[in-house]
Structures are given as structure tokens and as C-alpha cells.
């Protein structure tokens, strides 16, 4: 028994102190192989989850900053143009786009922006994904307030000094942002799906009873105010909205003048947060209906479009 022990001990000692190249190589390779196997198994399990997390993070950034309130699915489309600053183009199922651009000529050379463009070719938001611009100087041209005020709701191509104002002391970054936005507008015409086709813009569903129930329409400043009677299509037959349109004939505000809709059903459509979704839309407007409140959703939609039609 003790002889066997001595033998095992000797073998162990030999293994540990062995210095033959063959033994060293084999041992190291064997250990590496086992480790590689463990890593491969872990990767198999975690890789799909990690990809999911990254997509989720990107979508959250988009929903929060670039296309507020967007609930659809964005999928990558092939960019076939020649602009090297376009990183990726995502297309939504309602013909909206999110374009990731890294414009040339930024101060740090390291600026990536996301530009959201809605089906009516108005900007929904511009967001700096990553930037090396100087804090307090160039970064002022990337702040949410500035980007919101200068870009949201406008349609390209835009020019500094014209539709868009630069930030004083941050000219280079302002120029880069403007270039990025213009590149984004170019990019959506250069995807594998072909150039922008206005006929692809989703049309408003059949509007059964919409006679132009425009009670009043007046010019206000550079825009218009229309008081629309949406009653015929609504649930309670009593629904009057005041639709404010801006100089670009896009919705800039909707207020409820009178409503008999059920508060917890149709009322949800009339909440400020929901009506806000119409802001910025022009031509033909549409927002997601709220389930359980189809009458009111359709009535509001018909009313807003009646107002838009009236100013065309």
C-alpha cells in the first residue's frame, strides 16, 4: 500500500518538476483547450442576450431623444449612396428613418449623430451619440435644447444662417451638425429601397363622415388656428378641437375645446401627451390609435387632417 503511495507521490513530483518541452507544451495546450471550451460554452449562452441588450439600449436612445414616442420597429436598410459619413440607416415600418451620421469637419473629428426623420420628411430629433467636442464650447451646439429648437420639425436641406442658426463660439460644431442633417436627408433617398416616394407615405384611413366641419379658420401670426368639429365621427358626437398650425403648415398644437367622450376610454386620446404626437406633422397626419378608443382616435385624426387640408 505504502509502495503505491510512494509511486504516486513520485509521479506527482515528476509531473510537477518535469521540464521536457513536450510535457510543457502538452500541458499548456491541454489547459488552454479546456479554457477555450468553457469560454465557447459561455459565449454560446450569453452572446444572443448581449446583442439583445445592445439593441434595446439603442432603441431606448432613439425613443428618448431621436424619435420621441416612436413605438414601431426600426430595421436596418442598405445604404447605396457614396457618402462615407453615413454609418447606418434604419427604416421604420411607417416610412420614417433614423440615420446615424459621423460628419466630417467636427472640431474633435470624433462626432456621431443620430437624425430622426418622420414619414413627412420632417426632423423628429437630432441626438449626439458620441462626441469629443470641447465641453462648454462645441458641446453647446449638441445640447438637447439647441437641437430641438433649431432642427425639430424642419425639413431639409437646411442651411446655417437661413433656417438654422449656429451657436456663437461653436461655429465648427454647428456646421458639422447641419452637414450631418443634410447628409441624412440625402441618405434616405439613397437606400436599397429606392428614392423617397411620397406615395409610400401611409395614407389616412377612410374618413367616413368628414365633411369639412371647420367651424372657423383664422390666420394667427405666421400660422393658422382652426376650430374643428369632430363630433360626427366621435363616440359621444360632441368633440371640438382647436388645431394650431405653424408657418410651415405643420401642426403646432391641439387643444380640446369641448368633449363628451368617455374619460377613461376616449379621454385617453385627448390627453395632452397623446395629442402632442401630432405636433410637427403636416400634409397628412397620423398617430397610433389607442385600443378601446377607436371612435375618438379616428375622429381626432379626421379633424386634424381636415384642418391641414384646409390650409393646403
Amino acid at each position: 500500500m505504502s509502495e503505491k503511495n510512494v509511486k504516486t507521490e513520485k509521479v506527482k513530483k515528476d509531473l510537477k518538476n518535469g521540464s521536457g518541452l513536450g510535457q510543457l507544451t502538452i500541458t499548456l495546450c491541454a489547459i488552454s483547450a479546456i479554457c477555450a471550451l468553457l469560454l465557447g460554452l459561455t459565449n454560446m449562452v450569453t452572446a444572443p442576450i448581449i446583442v439583445q441588450n445592445q439593441e434595446k439600449k439603442k432603441t431606448e436612445a432613439i425613443t428618448a431623444n431621436v424619435m420621441p414616442g416612436y413605438t414601431g420597429v426600426l430595421s436596418q436598410v442598405n445604404y447605396v449612396g457614396s457618402d462615407a459619413t453615413i454609418l447606418s440607416v434604419l427604416k421604420g415600418d411607417d416610412n420614417s428613418f433614423v440615420v446615424e451620421v459621423a460628419p466630417k469637419g467636427s472640431f474633435s473629428g470624433n462626432l456621431t449623430l443620430m437624425v430622426g426623420i418622420d414619414p413627412n420628411r420632417a426632423i423628429t430629433g437630432v441626438y449626439a451619440v458620441s462626441s469629443g467636442e470641447t465641453a462648454g464650447k462645441g458641446s453647446l451646439a449638441l445640447e438637447a435644447d439647441y437641437l430641438q429648437a433649431q432642427y425639430t420639425g424642419k425639413s431639409g436641406p437646411l442651411s446655417l444662417g437661413g433656417e438654422v442658426e449656429a451657436v456663437s463660439g461653436a461655429t465648427i460644431t454647428s456646421v458639422a451638425v447641419c452637414n450631418a442633417v443634410n447628409s441624412a436627408f440625402e441618405a434616405i433617398n439613397n437606400t436599397a429601397d429606392g428614392p423617397y416616394d411620397p406615395n409610400l407615405t401611409p395614407s389616412v384611413p377612410d374618413e367616413p363622415n368628414v365633411s369639412e366641419n371647420i367651424r372657423s379658420m383664422a390666420q394667427e401670426g405666421s400660422g393658422y388656428v382652426a376650430v374643428v368639429d369632430c363630433g360626427p365621427d366621435s363616440f359621444s358626437k360632441t368633440l371640438v378641437l382647436r388645431v394650431t398650425l405653424d408657418a410651415n403648415k405643420a401642426v403646432s398644437g391641439i387643444e380640446v375645446v369641448e368633449s363628451g367622450e368617455t374619460p377613461e376610454l376616449g379621454g385617453k386620446v385627448l390627453e395632452a401627451e397623446n395629442l402632442q404626437k401630432y405636433v410637427g406633422q403636416s400634409g397628412t397626419a397620423e398617430i397610433d390609435g389607442i385600443s378601446g378608443a377607436s371612435y375618438t382616435s379616428n375622429a381626432v385624426n379626421a379633424g386634424v387632417n381636415a384642418a391641414l387640408k384646409a390650409v393646403e
Partner: protein, 216 residues
């Protein structure tokens, strides 16, 4: 394998940070919020224990000449596994820890324990050693987090309490913002080590006094 002895050693008498002076860079860099401190401490604990078990199990096969290379391969493997798992299941912690998670590969604590303990001891003892040393490391991280957050931001429990913002004990304007910077890390760590050494030497003196009395 004396669990009580190893536990005491891991936490106090052979604490990896304050006595063995290992793994100090990550200690100073991570201890800005409690969530990061606890997260990092537990990650090191898991990696330390797993690599201790693995290396101890292979201790009779790993030749002396290439033992460091083998240790690094094993440690790097477990660090990567933990990194992938955190990215998948705890992405917030993974983002907060940032580059310091991959840096655990060269965290001296793990390499030192592998070399000095696991290569010569059984799997069970090594596992216990990993847990105890990991706990000691986490303890110091928590202490430093609490001190630095309190003095540097006037808060407690950043990342965990109060929906992630931490409980504001006094307004941040009155806090010493330098404590949340690297200089604060150095100063806090120095004070913690000094305090630990003081209490250790005091208890050592007490013991020798007692021994002398008994001998008398």
C-alpha cells in the same frame, strides 16, 4: 482546512488590500459608489474562488516552469466568463465597472493567492481561501465607498438606495469633491491601511503581554 482561521485571515490578519497590499489600483478607482464597490467585490470573489478551485485541482499536473502562464490562462478565462455574464445579465454594472472588470486578470490578489496558496493546498481549502479573501477585499471596498461617497458627495448608497441616486445626507455643495477623485482614493486607502495596521499591532501587543503574564 480551518475555516475559522481562514475566515479571520481573509478579513483581518491577512486582508488582501490592507495587509498584503494587493489589488490597490482597482480599490482606489472603483470605490466611488456603493453599487460599483459591492459589484466589483463580488465579481473578484467569484473569479478568485473559481480560479482557486481550478488551479488547485490541476496543481499536480501544472509543471513548475510554466505555472505562471497556466495561472494567467485560467484567470483570464474566468474573468472573461464573468465579464460576458455581467454584460448579458447585469448590463448596468458591466457599464459602471467598465475597463476594471477585464483588469481583474492582472489583479495581484488572484495571481498571488494562486501562487502562494492554491498551488500547494487542497481544492476545498483553496475554495474557502478564495471566498474569505474575496470577502476581505469586498469589505475594504465597502468601507472605502462609504467614506468617499459621504465626504465626496454627501451621499450614501449610490447606485442602490433611493432608486440609484443614494440618500443625500448633506448637500453636495458642502462636500469635498476631491474625495471622489483619485487623490481622495489615495488618501482614504492610506488612512484605512494605517487604521488597520494600528489595530492589528495593538492586538498583537496585547497578545504578547498576555503571553508574558502567563509565562510569569
Amino acid at each position: 482546512m480551518d475555516f475559522k482561521k481562514q475566515f479571520k485571515e481573509g478579513l483581518i490578519t491577512q486582508n488582501p488590500v490592507t495587509v498584503q497590499l494587493l489589488g490597490m489600483c482597482s480599490t482606489m478607482a472603483i470605490t466611488i459608489s456603493l453599487f460599483n464597490g459591492i459589484g466589483m467585490g463580488l465579481s473578484v470573489l467569484v473569479i478568485l474562488t473559481l480560479s482557486n478551485i481550478f488551479i488547485s485541482a490541476l496543481r499536480n499536473i501544472i509543471p513548475n516552469k510554466i505555472r505562471i502562464a497556466c495561472f494567467i490562462v485560467v484567470i483570464a478565462t474566468f474573468v472573461t466568463i464573468v465579464d460576458l455574464c455581467l454584460q448579458a445579465f447585469l448590463p448596468d454594472l458591466s457599464e459602471n465597472l467598465g475597463v476594471f472588470l477585464p483588469l481583474i486578470v492582472v489583479n495581484c490578489i488572484i495571481l498571488a493567492r494562486a501562487e502562494s496558496f492554491c498551488y500547494k493546498n487542497s481544492v476545498a481549502a483553496s475554495a474557502v481561501d478564495g471566498i474569505c479573501q474575496g470577502l476581505g477585499y469586498t469589505l475594504i471596498l465597502v468601507i472605502m465607498c462609504v467614506i468617499r461617497e459621504f465626504l465626496g458627495k454627501g451621499a450614501f448608497g449610490g447606485g442602490i438606495l433611493n432608486g440609484g441616486k443614494g440618500i443625500q445626507i448633506f448637500p453636495a455643495n458642502f462636500a469635498i469633491s476631491g474625495m471622489a477623485q483619485p487623490v481622495g482614493g489615495f488618501l482614504t486607502l492610506a488612512c484605512v491601511i494605517a487604521a488597520m495596521q494600528y489595530f492589528l499591532s495593538k492586538s498583537k501587543n496585547k497578545k504578547t503581554e498576555k503571553k508574558e503574564e502567563v509565562e510569569k
